[in-house]
Symmetry: T
Subunit: 149 residues, 12 copies
């Protein structure tokens, strides 16, 4: 607890296009805006944030494996939310507490976006607050880690 | 914006027992703990919080109607999440921005708890962070209201 | 038949907001407009209309029980249409002929609004004609009562 | 509005047998009784009624196409209600306001009779009032046309 | 019983091609072979057979209506078996005892061929015996009529 | 065990009409008959029976909360059996042993009556024995409490 | 063909009660009546009929195995129709042509009676003609054997 | 009524192992304990109990047929509850009033254990009270027989 | 191959209204525009095009039967795509290679438009290119015929 | 471990015909070939093999009960795999480690063969290796027993 | 329009094996044949074709992102058609008009191949014409681009 | 046969963590333990084993393509079992005999783990024997290759 917590901020497919892509659904803020937002907030709390984005499911798994020593995860699995048993298994395997976040409200979109393979192995799920979802996810994670320390 | 925002904090059925009920699922914190947590946080932001709990679906609807002038809603519909079209319609009817929150991670429980009638008419959904879910929900709501002011 | 028929006009949840709520779906006419429309029409036929609205499912059941001596019912169960086995059972229990009406065309909206628990225990169902649905429902009911007198 | 409205009264398969067919479900009144009922009612309002019945799905479509200049439609699609995407498309194609009517209460019969392909492209649906359903349908249509004139 | 019974032998779509069409499924015998088979068998029993084939659903309904005075029906609805509520309703409407027959074993083919809209309003169903299915159907019908005379 | 056990006898919607309502399904005995039957039986065993009936889901929940000190529950949730997650959660929350009873055999009625949200959080379920179901339920409950004392 | 064909007539569970059991569904004729009916008909054709009835699924399978030298089978699997993969496999295994018959019209009864595990491995299925179904089944079988001799 | 009633107590597959098998689900009491419990209770009422257990579905059917003269049945079909149409048909065929009982609460176990083929042809169903379920079932049966005598 | 190929261009229900009907979905080009487009393209290849449109399912079947000598078919079954087993069977019966085409992208519309009864008996399916779909279909057909000549 | 392990080799319905039955699916090897194969392999390990085959579900259950002292089970439930809750319960009841084996690859056949009621109460499942599946099953079982000794 | 259009030709998993793989389904033509076919056709129109194949879902997404400046896409997603929400989202994100093509007729194969996650975000879908599907897809795309230029 | 057979041993996502990951489900043995186990066994038979693990679906496909000359495959697709049509297609495409293996008993876990996209294109499936599943899979494969040599 004297040491800084290491938190992974993971982004799934197409999120690298954030801010330029379908702005009516995903807004105009970019991944860099999100990064800056989190870093600013992180100054006051003892966390190291490690940012990662990939469009390749297996790269995300590899990243998760490489960082098994992390204290927590904030992950926006994007499209993989609804299709990836492998990422679900990876999170369960490394047993690092994770929070699933979404920029849009996935419960108000196509039917197939309402079910998540990932959420059942996470602490919780946050969706619908734009890039602010990451900030809320990080706070929720910290609060969880603190009360389970 | 010079005036304080009026925010409704609504709790559905059985949440009055919080802290005493199935503590392995819902934790040991009570509704009063939650209230205190929110009020403490609310001091630094210009909001008035109005707390309401009922086990009667229609009372929640009546409360929503009576408070149509509110600026935002944080609602934990509890069991009504999965059965109440009427509360869904009430939120849609009064058109006050709402956030759905859950203490437990509803995506990791019985199948019937994974689908929400309410979430599609909300800004977003937050689940799994204990009473901290309300705090995150309030923050998400404020942030939404600010960026849509 | 020399006596006036007693007809119940029952409105389910959120219909008290009629005319102010989602006007693209439900129109600009209020419950009072509906009331006036029915009363005007009722002058020429020997009926007493009793109006009731509640957002509480059980209050509607209580009202139905209290008025078991009625000759007929026009009911817009609103959201309860799709969720209330209890109101279905209440209508079946008191055995007063009932007509189910809807302001909007429920067959052209969300999938879950297409199925009614109430309609199978009614004479028939009318949906899609705005507040005029009540008038048609009342006429249909009167015509049914006359031909079954 | 100075001119009479042209209204199509369309009957689907087997309705030519009305009054002689399964009287416990469909009653003893014939299509001619219905015709007379509507014509009598139509005297006081400025409408021309055109009656059509066919057991052939495509003939109904042809009739709809030929009468694209009509002001409104009252259609009892009978069995085609549950199977004809083609009549649905025809009504959507000619964009004449239509009302779907049924003699029996289709919501209280076999499961497959509860879903209508036609209703979603209509103003509304009326079922369960015997041949009176047509009269209610015509009224509902006129009222719709008047308020959208 | 002193008079000859009038029996309708009805064939649905594509059966006019029998014997030339997909011979591995439907065999090499034609509708004329079937006709001859039935007529030969019918000599010893007092029945008049009336043969009808159409590819138009509504024509079959019209034929059924025109021949409401028949004593019985042997019908191979072919593809309409699985899609025609209208023919089902026509048979139910005229209340002439009917037997559903199929050349191929519909229970051993595509999933959608296993369910019949027509069979529930018939005495019974026979499938899988080539054109002999008609002969069996006729016998079954006669036997039914005799025991219900 | 020296003290009398407190047992709640709870009745859901429309059961106040018992004995007057659809007698072919529910019989001619009233709630008072049931009360008398139970009280007579209860004389020989050390139990205090508290009777409650409401048509309002939330009132039943409130009653359950108020009586959390009870030793056991016999509940006929009636229509709420199939729709109320909230009552299920209430019983699970207060952790008082409960038995679900039904007057009619719910497994021999409409499809939707075969599934219970309540039964999985109860000791067991009894259905089909008229008002005698309550007596059997009470006995089953006592026997359960005795063997778990 | 100079030799008599050996045909198995197999009856599944509860058919031993035929004629005494639910007469509105199954009629008043007994298995012996059926036997006599078939034997009378069989005199004119060169077949030996072997009758078997059992309420034990495995006994029917054993009987099928023991009689693998048979030329054909008429089987009324009764309740096993809808549940026995084992009898289906037995018929497929011994590769003796079989006809499935039913006394009642299984397509007009409970939903679960509409699907047969057995029919897909048979020549065809006959249902609805009382004990006459067996006679029709035998004829259909003979006709099949003759044309495939 | 001067004569003793003959009641069958039937146990399905694996119940012979009761008391030794999965004690967390089925308890430590054996079939003999159950027998003794029922016999003790039966002394005060004029019934003869006949006990039967088999792991063979068809033997249960044979037993039911042999004992068609019985006045009532208490049956725990165990695994056959969810798979045996044949036992359902046997009970319906002999028309002896039957009660279905279960030791464990089948509504709180695997999904496939929630549906019973047998219950719809019984007076009612009792589940969850250990071997006491038989006693309750017997009482419920006697009470049914008395009120229908 | 020295002879011109005979190709049928078949249009299902409501396509006669093309260009005037729901232009946002189906565009402004008419069937005549399509005809002209195909004929222009056909000049350079040795094909005779025969155009047919009908709103009557059976007429399309009759037309297919009459033209069994054709070398290929381009068919837009329109609404019949999703409901006509009979046209499916007709194409399978005459064994003329067929291509299914659609003006709109049926995979991006209502759920029920995504499944085709016809496509499984065709060479392939083309949808979404306006009247150009026919041209692509014709090319695909020609290419298929050439490589299978 | 000084003593020989007792292993049951159980075969379900129709497997007595192995080698003569549908050889394209099940191969030409018989149960005796399998027996010999296992016995040969068993010489080198300290196991006693007890072979059992029955076409009667209940006989398999009886055999399982009689041999509750066994150390392990290799079972090919054949058709009962997909229909027998009773065998599932028997294996769970006697708590002897079991391995489910199949000759054919059940995952590559009819849809209904993909789900097993038995596998969830077994150590594992092996399918697709002909009679070699038994050998693999035995090895897997031994290896399991050794590592759990 | 004076400049050449840039068109991406994308191939999903296993298509690199085209021509050598399951030739009865996919034919004998290779990806190079396809390339040559398209290039030959492309000479007469002003397009630059860029060919890409990958077995890695994320590589296809990366390729799509890198080439966001393209004018159009012809994509054969192969197996990813039925599983990749991520590619769907990528195409929607970059908003370049796309056509989905398939070598085989996916509507005539396994059930799971009939539904496409990709098609709803494309102009249209073409399947069943071997490598000619690409050529048709390219034509369809060009025609679309021309009419929307 | 004089040459050594080349066998691929392929491991899907997260299996690199074997032995350290969720030990209650997957055990304490690592991939290296498995490797050693197989190599030891392989000494006595003429096989070359090639080990491969990847968390990237497409890498597994590439590996399969590169090794199309292999004689056989033992594959544990892990999470890809339930989601990867692409690996299924790759195995079907290269037509190298494959065996699917699983460490845990997938038939005893979450519902979604019971269905495999891969198994239908394999010789067979083995699940539940820990790392011994690989050994059994290899044996089964060798036995298959030998009998099909």
């Amino acid at each position: 607890m004297g040491m800084k917590k290491k938190i992974l901020i993971i982004n799934g497919p197409n999120l690298n296009l954030l801010g330029t892509r379908e702005q009516d659904i995903y807004g105009t803020r970019t991944l860099d805006d999100m990064k800056e937002l989190l870093l600013r907030g992180a100054q006051t709390i003892a966390v190291d944030l490690d940012f990662f984005q990939s469009n390749i499911e297996g790269d995300i798994i590899n990243y998760l494996h490489r960082n098994r020593d992390a204290d927590g995860i904030v992950i926006n699995p994007a499209a993989f939310t609804h299709t990836s048993v492998a990422i679900r298994d990876a999170i369960a395997a490394i047993q690092v507490p994770a929070v699933e976040v979404h920029i849009s409200n996935i419960h108000a979109r196509e039917e197939f976006r309402r079910v998540s393979f990932i959420a059942p192995v996470c602490i919780g799920q946050i969706s619908g607050f734009g890039i602010h979802s990451y900030q809320l996810g990080l706070e929720g994670l910290i609060s969880y880690l603190d009360s389970n320390a």
